[in-house]
Amino acid sequence: MLLATVVLLPFLLMLLPAAFERLRLPPALGAGLVTLAAAAPLAWLGPEVAAGHTILFAVPWVPSLGLEVAFRLDGLALLFVGLILGIGLLVVLYAHYYLSDEDRNGRFFAYLLAFMGAMLGIVTSDNLLLLVVFWELTSITSFLLIGFWRGAAEARQGARLALLVTGAGGLALLAGVLFIGDIVGSYSLGAVLAAGDLIRADPRYPLVLTLVLLGAFTKSAQFPFHFWLPHAMAAPTPVSAYLHSATMVKAGIFLLMRLWPALAGTEAWFWSVSTVGLVTMLFASYVALFKHDLKGLLAYSTVSQLGLIMLLLGLGTPYAELAAVFHLINHAVFKASLFMAAGIIDHETGSRDMRRLSGLARYMPITAALATVAAASMAGVPLLNGFLSKEMFFAETIEVTQWWSWVLPAAATLGGLFSVAYSVRFVHDVFFGGPAEGLPRKPHEPPRFMRVPVEILVVICLLVGLAPGLMIEPTLRLAVGALLQGPLPEFSLKIWHGFNLPLLMSFVATGGGIALYFARRYLWALHDERTGWLSGKQITESALDSLRAGASLLAGTLERGGLRLSLLAFLGASVAAGVLAFGATWPVATVGPGAVPGTVWVAVLVLVLGTLATVVYHRERMVAVIALGVVGLVVSLAFVKFSAPDLALTQLLVEVSTVLLFLLAMYFLPERSPRDCSDLRRGVDALIGLAAGGGVGLLTWAMLVAPRETISSFFLEAAKPEGGGYNVVNVILVDFRALDTLGEITVLGIAALGVVAMLDRIRLPERALDWQGNPWAAQQHSLMLQVISRPLLPVALIVSLYLLLRGHNLPGGGFIGGLVTGAAIIIQYLAWGTAWVEAKLPLRHLALAASGIALAVLTGAAAFVFGAPFLTSTFGYFTGPVVGRFELASAMVFDVGVYLTVVGIVLAILAGIGRQHGTAERT
């Protein structure tokens, strides 16, 4: 439980600095308190771990996936936790003085705390999936921290670059972890570490190793994934000191240390890890020589030192692991202090350029002394901590037999040489030499407490260097023991081992490095003549740019292909799927070709001609509409022929309304469509049309020639006895499948609503001349139409009501009745004009439609009263005065609702468009 507190406290109290800010207290104080609070439990936990126990904590999160919130604190984790919290506290203190007033706010420290928590999570995670969770969290928080000074383009770009590279690594790690989980059967670290042999023997081992290494290398900025780190230097220096020297970049190394029992020990591990480490170490330390920016030099130096540690990890022997851990600690200490010193220099002088800085020892002697000690540790000067771990490194390179026996030590010496060179440069160019000219600020010592963190770290360098056995050996034993999960190698942390090869290598490195330093200008001159470095950042960014351009092209072409492309894709897919799916299984024809009466032939002929006319003349809009009407008529006749009277009536009335709609709209549309298409396009479209037509035709034929048994027999039998009507279709509509009808009238209502809304404030051009150039008649309304329409309305109303009422037993029903009424009223509009009709017949069309829907719903809901489901109908027989015995079904009330809705929407839509004729502008 306490363990969980250590990790989760920074997250939970992330906003405390912001709260402090509100209270006019320094947010850094809040952050510092949280860090201390998180460290407090270690007072109890630490000794336990030191005594050899491993502390575990587990709470399930997603059991189905094997992901649980599990933490483990052993020697290795304790070491890292100590580093994270310890250096974190120092960084908080430092940041308080480094950041300007507006920057040192709650937001910065919140991000910092979040990062701290994520980092703690990585090192204490006992579940590999959980580790990945925290891994990605560090990427996200580091993104926010690097881009903190958002105004600068380098900060933004640096942040995105870091996110891209470490994010990609994180995803690779996820894949690797998933495979490990699949091999081992669990993500729990205990199980994984014990299953090392299983993992190494699995055929997927190389893949797993590659993926995990990708994750580690990207996070720890190893070649060739190193390029994000120098660009991350755009972050505020406290961030660089914390993330990019001491903690986040160490995460990759931690991962490999943690997974060492599971993955290491194979040839693949040896060659891949050590090679990458070696190349990185040499490459980065070489490049560091050429950096003129303080932080740039330190960045490449960090990359190089990490390469060194990686190389040690790769060598795989327990002694090498020990050296790796030791150097990791030392590096964290001296590098953080160096970054802070660089920050101090920057803060107090306003410049980070080593070509401009000079002789600062005069102005800030204490800082100079501190920086010199730290740099000396970095260079491997005896009596400092860096020397000890470097010696161990040198010693181990000699022991290794797999490389040609001299390559490794030579490379190590070279690396050491470079590091001496750039360390000397750091100190000598900045602090010694003549006074600096033209610096933005007058250099002086920083505030007392800004220097304190550096002082503490440097003191540690000294103490560990002077008395390693006392200071560091217990920690080292603990951590390495946890890493190896086995016995520790023989080692001694004496300062003096006698004159041996490692010492010789150190001498050579030191001497050569100093010499190189003095020759630096020649080197720079040499370098400047060549073309610039291959910038990893540029490669990445141009790759991203081309990717984006390609994506734009792809997405753009497809999506701007217009309606046609979507339609073609859809139609193509349907035809293909339909044909392929249907296959070659034709139904056995049981209905033979009967005799076809002559009328049918005529009808089909008219249909085909009408359709062709519509197609051929589709650009002559008036002609096309007439042809369409003819086709619709034939369809109605087809319904009549094939025993569907209700359909025929509905089709006819809808046809009339649709044609009316077309005519009303055509007034505003251009009278002809221009010739818009190439012949090729028309050919393709025609082909698709024929394919679709053929397909559907064949399907129809397949449907028709074989009989089927359907559920309809029920409807036919039950319509009268249970539904109360002889017209089975109507009974189905308003009773058996009333929900469909309810949905349908809702569609109508919404359509009308949409139409009315769209017509609102529409500005349509009106014409003074018709298609042939004749002016419109001055008289708006036809006298003939007025004469006819007068008696038409009452007659139509009666007819429609009759159709409505008889619908349950004879062709008719709510739709048909409603359409008749609607049409009749529309004729009134045509004859008399909108204003006149609406004065005489003030109907709120949409309200009428809504009331129809409401009536239908209420009818359905009435069933609740009787405990029956929605839309259950009932019917009974009544005797009335004149009509005698008649039958009433509740479904008929439903039908009335349908009737009202249809009237309402027909009026709303047609009158709505018609109204535009009066109000349109004359052009």
Binding site: P60, P63, S64, L65, L67, L129, V132, F134, E136, F143, L144, G151, A153, R160, A175, L178, D182, L544, G550, A551, S552, A555, E559, G561, L563, L565, S566, L567, F570, A573, G578, A581, G583, T585, P587, L699, R708, T710, I711, F714, A718, D735, F736, R737, D740, G743, E744, T746, V747, A751, L753, L846, A850, I853, A863, P869, F870, L871, T872, S873
Partner: protein, 502 residues
């Protein structure tokens, strides 16, 4: 008879009608929000009902199966009703901040849209599904055009025409299926499918595949999804957030019909391949997007692709991952749309275009919400998106498809990270001269409303992450139930038995 099952249909219908009848924006708002909250309460209760075990059914009109229309509430429909309801409340409340004033009848249309969506999830009848699809479509068209802005017209034309042709195909499919099997009820069709005479199988298969294509159109699966980015990006932000559920209707229809009736048609491999390609196109679109709205629209495509990659495995693990991801993805993409809307309003003339414009000062909540939304959309930890991604990857490994799924899914994730990081950096970090003029200045109440809407979605996404364990278990039960076609049939038939019928 538990009338609760028909409440998800009646509530929005009544609420929508009422919202039309009352006068004044305030009254409309009250009706709209109250109805949505009531819907949420109903959805929660129905969720409880479904969690018990077998599916619950409701015979509309009290006609025996398969002659009437039956509503079926199983775990899948209950889950989707819940997600829809949460979305509805969030959007309804968010719109109080001003989005519902941009056009007419926003709240009424919102409710009608919900009617269509809920009906599509609940129905157990093929033609009824068609009708509810049409309700959903016409409501979405009306919502798209409800504020009558010129930039929407073209997108609306595309969507309407495409879906009209789609509806024609739907009916062709219905005709084929009815002719082949003689019924329209899902459960009945599932039973009849097993004993179809060989000469009817051609029609049956054709019908099944044609249905798949229609549903794929709705779900914006490649190569039928080109319409989506244009339509969603053209829509008003709050409307687009609501549209987030529409593609899922298509996906659920595919799952429902695929597991019940068309299991032998070999839909799986084709869906799988198409889903992978959809992922690729979605990622490309996210990279290339020039507006945050466009980015979010392509995020929808990516989420549909991920969903179908997992679901097309038609395995228990795959369907479970898909169900969980469906919950998370819908809410996350809706969140992104709402944020895009808010950001556009705050940035004035620059809208939500991804270019350096005025600084968004003094609003700490917006960037934080954006970061959270981005992390959730991409599927980075600790959000549910990460859990979902891991679940999908594990399901793929189990099905032996890891080689295809891993690279695509992980690459798409990386590209989404790049796209969203760039968007966030441009919108929030890169500031041009001047400070943003709020085109829709909110009073305190309005700001609270918008914040509440966004906050609700954030909360929902967060809860899905924290309670990922129980949620994933629920998803597994849903998947198991989905794969148990016989169970569905029996549950539907059970109402007949209770009635004393056959």
């Amino acid at each position: 008879m538990n009338h609760l099952l028909v409440a998800p249909l009646l509530l929005p219908l009544a609420g929508g009608a009422l919202a039309l009848l009352v006068r004044g924006l305030a009254a409309e708002r009250i009706v709209g929000v109250m109805t949505s909250i009531a819907l949420l309460a109903v959805a929660i209760m129905l969720f409880g009902v479904a969690a018990d075990g077998a599916a619950a059914t409701y015979d509309v009109g009290d006609w025996p199966v398969p002659y009437g229309i039956t509503l079926v509430l199983d775990r899948l429909s209950a889950t989707l009703l819940l997600v829809t309801a949460v979305l509805a409340v969030a959007v309804a409340v968010y719109s109080l901040g001003g989005a519902d004033r941009r056009g007419r009848h926003f709240h009424a249309l919102l409710q009608f849209q919900l009617l269509g969506v809920n009906g599509a999830f609940l129905t157990g009848d093929l033609f009824n599904l068609f009708v509810f699809f049409e309700v959903l479509l016409i409501a979405s068209y009306a919502l798209l055009m409800h504020d009558s802005r010129p930039e929407r017209t073209l997108a609306a034309i595309h969507v309407v025409v495409l879906n009209l042709v789609g509806s024609v195909l739907f009916l062709v499919a219905v005709g084929c299926i009815y002719s082949a099997a003689g019924s329209l009820n899902f459960a009945d069709l599932a039973e009849r499918a097993a004993s179809l005479p060989p000469d009817r199988q051609g029609l049956w298969r054709a019908g099944g595949w044609l249905l798949l294509i229609v549903f794929a159109l709705k779900a914006a699966l490649l190569p039928l999804g080109f319409w989506l980015p244009g339509a969603y990006a053209a829509a008003d932000g709050a409307v687009a957030a609501l549209f987030a559920i529409l593609t899922k209707v298509g996906v659920v229809a595919i799952l429902r019909t695929g597991t019940l009736m068309f299991g032998d048609l070999g839909l799986g491999p084709v869906l799988f391949a198409l889903a992978l390609m959809t992922l690729g196109l979605g990622a490309a679109g996210m990279l290339a997007a020039r507006r945050l709205g466009g980015l979010a629209a392509h995020a929808v495509i990516v989420s549909v692709g991920t969903l179908l990659v997992s679901a097309s495995l038609f395995s228990a693990a795959g369907l479970a991952a898909a169900t969980y991801y469906l919950m998370h993805g819908t809410l996350a993409t809706a969140l992104l749309f709402l944020l895009a809307d808010r950001i556009a309003a705050v940035r004035g003339a620059a809208g939500d275009r991804l270019e350096a414009a005025v600084a968004i000062r003094g609003r700490a909540a917006l960037p934080v919400a954006f970061v959270l939304a981005a992390v959730a959309t991409v599927g980075l930890p600790p959000t549910g998106g990460f859990v979902a991604k891991v679940a999908v990857l594990e399901a793929a490994t189990e099905a032996g498809r890891a080689a295809a799924v891993f690279p695509v899914l992980l690459l798409v994730s990386l590209l989404s990270i790049v796209a969203l990081a760039r968007a966030g950096s441009t919108l929030f970090w890169k500031a041009g001269p001047g400070v943003g003029e709020d085109t829709e200045p909110l009073q305190v109440g309005g700001k609270a409303a918008a914040g509440f809407g966004i906050g609700l979605l954030l909360l929902a996404v967060g809860l899905l992450a924290v309670f990922a364990g129980p949620a994933l278990e629920h998803a597994e039960a849903t998947a198991a139930q989905l794969l148990d076609a016989d169970g569905y049939v029996q549950a539907v038939r059970a109402s007949n038995l209770a009635r004393g019928g056959h």
